[in-house]
């Protein structure tokens, strides 16, 4: 079927303002939005710029606003979006070109929650063991691919420019609830401050946007509780 793409385009070096450009592509129901974008770029308009890498929902490169909601182009089927697809870059980032945005700030926030295992105990001979139950405690948040769909869908993050955002909290959650990690106090202190979890107003846009189906709002609420009670 013929699918019409309305794509927001912007080249800060040439264009005064962003504008929409339309393309028509022949696609099947089970093709993905990304197939449409590739088709346009390869056959119709080589100047259309977007990121993608794995094409299988695991690298997190191609999060964008599809029909007004953050999704991965490589995980969204045409039958979910219909014959008219409106595509815009993620909110809250400077546009580098078309759908490519500068995610510098996002990764800064990510790094500021210490997203790595901190454990200075001498390593045991084989590995740091953990019971399956303890592992399950943070299983959900290990799935994050840092696509930024959640953070850029969050109304608090749109307004509050000191909020670290859902993705950073998800990453912190993964270590806060890991029994092998020893930096819980430090991480919780960072998240209990002005930039942390209290800016979350439980609007659930993040949960709905996450392509990995992580229960983002739930993870944030769990970090809130840990911050309130002083530990996980």
């Amino acid at each position: 079927m013929r699918v019409r793409f309305d794509i927001k385009r912007y080249d800060p070096e040439k264009d005064e303002a962003p504008y929409f450009q339309n393309y028509e592509v022949e696609l099947g129901e089970t093709d993905r939005v990304l197939d449409g974008l590739n088709e346009i770029r390869w056959r119709q308009d080589g100047t259309l710029t977007f990121r993608r890498s794995c094409e299988h929902g695991i690298c997190g490169s191609d999060a964008m606003r599809i029909n007004g909601r953050n999704r991965l182009a490589c995980k969204t089927l045409i039958r979910e979006v219909g014959r008219r697809v409106r595509i815009e870059p993620l909110l809250g980032f400077p546009v580098v070109r078309d759908l490519v945005v500068d995610q510098q700030r996002f990764f800064q926030d990510y790094r500021s929650v210490l997203p790595f295992l901190v454990n200075d105990d001498p390593p045991p001979p084989r590995e740091r063991l953990q019971s399956p139950e303890a592992r399950r405690r943070f299983d959900d948040t290990t799935k994050c691919i840092l696509c930024a769909a959640c953070t850029t869908a969050c109304p608090s993050a749109w307004g509050n420019d000191s909020f670290l955002g859902p993705a950073a909290i998800v990453q912190a959650h993964r270590f806060i609830f890991d029994t092998r990690d020893h930096a819980t106090v430090e991480r919780l202190a960072r998240l209990a401050g002005r930039c942390g979890v209290w800016a979350c107003r439980t609007a659930y846009n993040c949960t709905m946007a996450c392509p990995r189906e992580i229960q983002v709002t739930r993870a944030i609420a769990e970090v809130k509780r840990a911050a309130l009670l002083g530990g996980p």
Binding site: G68, F93, G165
Partner: protein, 130 residues
């Protein structure tokens, strides 16, 4: 720490029921705060003596204020019910699954409490007493 997003762009985002609930929460909150400020000022006129205060209170007995009071009632009830919902969801994270259902449940409760009270409050207007 994203760049600020304009209201227009934010409104165009297709969030779920909780996002609209959140937005209405802010609007009703501001509305109630505005009324509260007026209410404090008007109560303050008590200290200017009976005549002054009674004259001030006369202002409330107009159709405009009667209808505005219904708006206030809505704002207070909505803000209260939605606030409780948010608190519940913050303290019981596992309820995330029922997010949509809880928003709607809140609305149903609101309607059931609000409509009768609104009709009752507007009776003088219907009877043409104002």
């Amino acid at each position: 720490m994203l760049e600020r997003t304009s209201f227009r762009e934010g409104l165009r985002y297709r969030g779920g029921s909780s996002m609209w609930a959140w937005m209405l929460h802010r609007i009703t909150g501001l509305g109630v705060l505005l009324f509260l400020s007026i209410h404090i000022l008007e109560t303050f006129t008590l200290s200017f003596g009976p005549d002054f205060y009674n004259n001030t209170m006369e202002l409330y007995n107009t159709i405009f204020f009667r209808v505005a009071e219904i708006g206030l009632l809505f704002a207070v009830l909505y803000h209260a019910i939605n606030g409780i919902r948010i608190t519940i969801q913050d303290f019981w994270p596992a309820l995330w699954r029922y997010e949509r259902a809880l928003v709607w449940a809140g609305f149903v409760i609101l309607i059931f409490v609000f409509i009768p009270l609104a009709v009752w409050g507007l009776l003088p207007v219907f009877r043409g007493e104002l």
